[in-house]
Protein backbone atom coordinates (compact mmCIF):
# COMPACT_ATOMS: atom_id res chain seq x y z
CA UNK A 1 0.00 0.00 0.00
CA UNK A 2 1.69 3.15 -1.18
CA UNK A 3 1.60 6.01 1.18
CA UNK A 4 3.08 9.44 0.92
CA UNK A 5 6.67 9.34 2.12
CA UNK A 6 6.43 12.52 4.12
CA UNK A 7 4.50 12.85 7.31
CA UNK A 8 1.24 14.22 6.09
CA UNK A 9 -1.34 12.30 8.05
CA UNK A 10 -1.98 10.69 11.38
CA UNK A 11 -0.98 7.24 10.07
CA UNK A 12 2.50 8.35 9.19
CA UNK A 13 2.88 10.40 12.31
CA UNK A 14 2.21 7.43 14.60
CA UNK A 15 4.41 5.14 12.54
CA UNK A 16 7.49 6.34 14.39
CA UNK A 17 8.25 4.80 17.78
CA UNK A 18 9.40 7.96 19.52
CA UNK A 19 6.27 9.78 18.44
CA UNK A 20 4.09 7.00 19.83
CA UNK A 21 6.09 7.34 23.04
CA UNK A 22 5.33 11.04 23.08
CA UNK A 23 1.62 10.38 22.55
CA UNK A 24 1.68 7.84 25.38
CA UNK A 25 3.40 10.31 27.67
CA UNK A 26 0.93 13.04 26.78
CA UNK A 27 -1.95 10.62 27.26
CA UNK A 28 -1.70 11.13 30.99
CA UNK A 29 -2.05 14.89 30.72
CA UNK A 30 -0.50 18.11 29.50
CA UNK A 31 3.26 18.40 29.55
CA UNK A 32 6.00 20.81 28.59
CA UNK A 33 8.95 19.93 26.36
CA UNK A 34 11.10 19.76 29.51
CA UNK A 35 8.72 17.24 31.14
CA UNK A 36 8.82 15.09 28.02
CA UNK A 37 12.62 15.22 27.81
CA UNK A 38 12.78 13.99 31.40
CA UNK A 39 10.22 11.28 30.93
CA UNK A 40 11.32 9.86 27.60
CA UNK A 41 15.07 10.28 27.82
CA UNK A 42 15.19 11.93 24.41
CA UNK A 43 17.11 15.11 23.69
CA UNK A 44 15.30 18.41 23.66
CA UNK A 45 15.76 18.89 19.88
CA UNK A 46 14.39 15.39 19.26
CA UNK A 47 11.33 16.01 21.38
CA UNK A 48 10.74 19.36 19.67
CA UNK A 49 11.12 17.82 16.23
CA UNK A 50 8.63 15.03 16.92
CA UNK A 51 6.19 17.40 18.58
CA UNK A 52 6.30 19.57 15.46
CA UNK A 53 5.35 16.56 13.33
CA UNK A 54 2.52 15.60 15.68
CA UNK A 55 1.26 19.16 15.70
CA UNK A 56 1.42 19.40 11.89
CA UNK A 57 -1.06 16.51 11.54
CA UNK A 58 -3.21 17.74 14.39
CA UNK A 59 -2.49 14.91 16.83
CA UNK A 60 -1.07 17.25 19.41
CA UNK A 61 -2.14 20.76 20.28
CA UNK A 62 -0.38 23.39 22.31
CA UNK A 63 -1.54 25.92 24.90
CA UNK A 64 0.62 28.91 25.69
CA UNK A 65 0.67 29.93 29.35
CA UNK A 66 3.00 32.86 29.92
CA UNK A 67 6.41 31.65 28.89
CA UNK A 68 5.49 28.00 29.02
CA UNK A 69 4.03 25.90 26.24
CA UNK A 70 1.84 23.00 27.32
CA UNK A 71 1.34 20.14 24.87
CA UNK A 72 -1.55 17.72 24.88
CA UNK A 73 -3.07 14.94 22.77
CA UNK A 74 -5.90 15.81 20.45
CA UNK A 75 -7.99 12.64 20.79
CA UNK A 76 -10.38 13.00 17.84
CA UNK A 77 -7.43 13.19 15.43
CA UNK A 78 -6.39 9.69 16.52
CA UNK A 79 -9.79 8.27 15.63
CA UNK A 80 -8.96 7.21 12.03
CA UNK A 81 -5.91 5.33 13.24
CA UNK A 82 -7.90 3.69 15.98
CA UNK A 83 -10.66 2.66 13.58
CA UNK A 84 -8.21 1.33 11.05
CA UNK A 85 -6.67 -0.95 13.63
CA UNK A 86 -10.03 -1.85 15.09
CA UNK A 87 -11.24 -3.00 11.72
CA UNK A 88 -8.33 -5.40 11.41
CA UNK A 89 -9.01 -6.64 14.90
CA UNK A 90 -12.64 -7.15 14.08
CA UNK A 91 -11.75 -9.24 11.00
CA UNK A 92 -9.60 -11.49 13.13
CA UNK A 93 -12.15 -11.69 15.89
CA UNK A 94 -14.80 -12.73 13.43
CA UNK A 95 -12.52 -15.36 11.91
CA UNK A 96 -11.39 -16.78 15.25
CA UNK A 97 -14.95 -16.89 16.56
CA UNK A 98 -15.74 -19.18 13.66
CA UNK A 99 -12.70 -21.26 14.53
CA UNK A 100 -14.11 -21.47 18.03
CA UNK A 101 -17.36 -22.89 16.57
CA UNK A 102 -15.46 -25.45 14.51
CA UNK A 103 -13.45 -26.57 17.54
CA UNK A 104 -16.62 -26.88 19.58
CA UNK A 105 -18.21 -29.05 16.91
CA UNK A 106 -15.14 -31.24 16.59
CA UNK A 107 -15.09 -31.84 20.33
CA UNK A 108 -18.77 -32.70 20.40
CA UNK A 109 -18.14 -35.29 17.70
CA UNK A 110 -15.26 -36.75 19.66
CA UNK A 111 -17.43 -37.08 22.73
CA UNK A 112 -20.08 -38.91 20.74
CA UNK A 113 -17.71 -41.48 19.28
Amino acid sequence: MARTPTTTDAFNAVSEGSRRGLLDALGTGEATVGDLVDRLGLSQPQVSKHLAVLRAVGLVSVRVDGRRRWYRVNGPALQPVYEWVRSFESTWNNRLDRLDDVLGELQTKEELT
Binding site: R3, S87, E89, L96, T108
Partner: protein, 164 residues
Protein backbone atom coordinates in the same frame (compact mmCIF):
# COMPACT_ATOMS: atom_id res chain seq x y z
CA UNK B 1 -17.73 -28.86 27.02
CA UNK B 2 -20.04 -27.49 24.39
CA UNK B 3 -21.61 -25.14 26.89
CA UNK B 4 -18.58 -22.89 26.59
CA UNK B 5 -19.10 -22.20 22.90
CA UNK B 6 -19.54 -18.54 22.29
CA UNK B 7 -18.17 -17.49 25.66
CA UNK B 8 -14.99 -16.25 24.12
CA UNK B 9 -16.45 -14.48 21.12
CA UNK B 10 -14.75 -11.21 20.34
CA UNK B 11 -11.90 -11.89 22.75
CA UNK B 12 -9.00 -11.82 20.28
CA UNK B 13 -6.42 -9.30 21.35
CA UNK B 14 -4.51 -7.42 18.72
CA UNK B 15 -1.21 -5.70 19.50
CA UNK B 16 1.74 -4.22 17.65
CA UNK B 17 4.74 -5.52 19.64
CA UNK B 18 7.24 -3.67 17.45
CA UNK B 19 7.31 -1.48 14.36
CA UNK B 20 7.20 -4.40 11.96
CA UNK B 21 5.12 -6.95 13.84
CA UNK B 22 1.48 -7.78 14.45
CA UNK B 23 0.38 -10.12 17.22
CA UNK B 24 -3.07 -11.64 17.53
CA UNK B 25 -3.79 -13.65 20.69
CA UNK B 26 -6.89 -15.72 21.38
CA UNK B 27 -7.80 -18.52 23.80
CA UNK B 28 -9.85 -21.58 22.90
CA UNK B 29 -11.51 -24.19 25.07
CA UNK B 30 -9.95 -26.99 23.09
CA UNK B 31 -6.78 -29.04 23.14
CA UNK B 32 -3.80 -27.74 21.20
CA UNK B 33 -3.77 -30.63 18.73
CA UNK B 34 -7.29 -29.76 17.65
CA UNK B 35 -6.49 -26.07 17.20
CA UNK B 36 -3.34 -27.02 15.30
CA UNK B 37 -5.34 -29.32 13.03
CA UNK B 38 -7.86 -26.57 12.38
CA UNK B 39 -4.95 -24.57 10.91
CA UNK B 40 -3.47 -27.39 8.88
CA UNK B 41 -6.45 -29.34 7.52
CA UNK B 42 -8.04 -27.89 4.35
CA UNK B 43 -11.59 -28.97 5.18
CA UNK B 44 -11.34 -27.32 8.59
CA UNK B 45 -9.71 -24.12 7.33
CA UNK B 46 -12.58 -23.80 4.88
CA UNK B 47 -15.00 -23.68 7.78
CA UNK B 48 -13.51 -20.75 9.65
CA UNK B 49 -10.93 -18.71 7.79
CA UNK B 50 -13.35 -16.45 5.94
CA UNK B 51 -15.30 -15.69 9.10
CA UNK B 52 -18.71 -14.33 8.14
CA UNK B 53 -17.18 -12.10 5.51
CA UNK B 54 -17.25 -14.56 2.67
CA UNK B 55 -16.45 -18.09 1.67
CA UNK B 56 -13.17 -19.97 1.47
CA UNK B 57 -12.87 -21.15 -2.11
CA UNK B 58 -9.45 -22.71 -1.84
CA UNK B 59 -7.40 -24.07 1.07
CA UNK B 60 -4.30 -25.78 -0.29
CA UNK B 61 -1.98 -27.11 2.36
CA UNK B 62 1.17 -29.10 1.65
CA UNK B 63 2.20 -29.62 5.23
CA UNK B 64 5.94 -30.25 5.10
CA UNK B 65 8.97 -28.02 5.35
CA UNK B 66 9.14 -26.08 2.10
CA UNK B 67 5.60 -27.13 1.20
CA UNK B 68 3.27 -24.47 -0.17
CA UNK B 69 -0.03 -23.26 1.15
CA UNK B 70 -2.59 -21.06 -0.58
CA UNK B 71 -5.85 -19.90 0.93
CA UNK B 72 -8.40 -17.93 -1.08
CA UNK B 73 -11.65 -16.44 0.01
CA UNK B 74 -14.36 -14.77 -1.99
CA UNK B 75 -15.61 -11.93 0.10
CA UNK B 76 -19.28 -11.10 0.26
CA UNK B 77 -18.55 -8.09 -1.92
CA UNK B 78 -17.55 -10.48 -4.70
CA UNK B 79 -13.81 -9.89 -4.80
CA UNK B 80 -11.12 -12.44 -4.03
CA UNK B 81 -8.62 -12.26 -1.24
CA UNK B 82 -5.71 -14.68 -1.60
CA UNK B 83 -2.86 -15.46 0.78
CA UNK B 84 -0.08 -17.94 0.13
CA UNK B 85 3.36 -18.97 1.25
CA UNK B 86 5.54 -21.80 2.37
CA UNK B 87 5.92 -23.82 5.57
CA UNK B 88 9.19 -23.26 7.40
CA UNK B 89 8.69 -25.11 10.70
CA UNK B 90 6.11 -27.69 11.66
CA UNK B 91 5.99 -28.90 15.25
CA UNK B 92 2.55 -30.36 15.90
CA UNK B 93 0.78 -29.29 18.06
CA UNK B 94 3.01 -26.52 19.37
CA UNK B 95 4.30 -24.35 16.59
CA UNK B 96 3.90 -23.56 12.94
CA UNK B 97 6.09 -21.11 11.03
CA UNK B 98 5.16 -20.12 7.52
CA UNK B 99 5.87 -17.37 5.07
CA UNK B 100 2.85 -15.38 4.07
CA UNK B 101 2.07 -13.11 1.17
CA UNK B 102 -1.11 -11.22 0.53
CA UNK B 103 -1.15 -11.73 -3.20
CA UNK B 104 -2.35 -8.23 -3.95
CA UNK B 105 0.94 -6.96 -2.44
CA UNK B 106 3.37 -9.74 -3.39
CA UNK B 107 6.46 -7.85 -2.22
CA UNK B 108 5.37 -7.79 1.39
CA UNK B 109 6.36 -11.30 2.45
CA UNK B 110 5.82 -11.86 6.13
CA UNK B 111 6.95 -14.67 8.37
CA UNK B 112 4.09 -15.83 10.51
CA UNK B 113 4.82 -17.76 13.69
CA UNK B 114 1.72 -19.47 15.02
CA UNK B 115 1.98 -21.03 18.46
CA UNK B 116 -0.49 -23.22 20.36
CA UNK B 117 0.05 -23.35 24.11
CA UNK B 118 -2.26 -25.64 26.02
CA UNK B 119 -2.79 -25.33 29.73
CA UNK B 120 -5.66 -26.88 31.72
CA UNK B 121 -7.59 -27.62 28.57
CA UNK B 122 -7.33 -24.07 27.26
CA UNK B 123 -5.17 -23.40 24.24
CA UNK B 124 -3.69 -19.97 23.74
CA UNK B 125 -3.21 -19.23 20.07
CA UNK B 126 -0.66 -16.60 19.14
CA UNK B 127 -0.21 -15.42 15.57
CA UNK B 128 2.89 -13.29 15.27
CA UNK B 129 3.36 -11.67 11.87
CA UNK B 130 6.84 -10.38 11.20
CA UNK B 131 7.09 -8.02 8.21
CA UNK B 132 10.13 -6.79 6.28
CA UNK B 133 9.29 -3.19 7.18
CA UNK B 134 6.78 -1.09 8.94
CA UNK B 135 5.22 -0.01 5.68
CA UNK B 136 4.61 -3.64 4.79
CA UNK B 137 3.09 -4.31 8.14
CA UNK B 138 0.74 -1.38 7.78
CA UNK B 139 -0.28 -2.67 4.36
CA UNK B 140 -1.04 -6.01 5.97
CA UNK B 141 -3.29 -4.35 8.51
CA UNK B 142 -5.07 -2.74 5.61
CA UNK B 143 -5.43 -6.10 3.86
CA UNK B 144 -6.94 -7.69 6.94
CA UNK B 145 -9.41 -4.91 6.74
CA UNK B 146 -10.34 -5.74 3.16
CA UNK B 147 -11.62 -9.10 4.31
CA UNK B 148 -14.11 -7.14 6.32
CA UNK B 149 -14.94 -4.79 3.47
CA UNK B 150 -18.62 -5.49 3.54
CA UNK B 151 -18.92 -3.90 6.94
CA UNK B 152 -16.12 -1.40 6.52
CA UNK B 153 -16.66 0.36 3.21
CA UNK B 154 -16.44 3.77 4.73
CA UNK B 155 -13.19 3.01 6.45
CA UNK B 156 -11.70 1.48 3.32
CA UNK B 157 -12.63 4.54 1.34
CA UNK B 158 -10.96 6.76 3.87
CA UNK B 159 -7.84 4.63 3.90
CA UNK B 160 -7.62 4.64 0.12
CA UNK B 161 -8.02 8.39 0.03
CA UNK B 162 -5.22 8.75 2.53
CA UNK B 163 -3.00 6.31 0.68
CA UNK B 164 -3.54 7.92 -2.72
Amino acid sequence: MNSSIGNRYGSAVFTLPSDNEILVTREFDAPANLVFDAWTTPDLVKRWWAGDRGEVTEAQIDLRIGGRWRWVMTANGGFEVAFSGEYREIDRPHRLVRTEVFEMFPDAEAVSTITFDESNGVTTLRILGHYPSQEHRDAAIASGMEGGLQTSLDELERLLLQAA
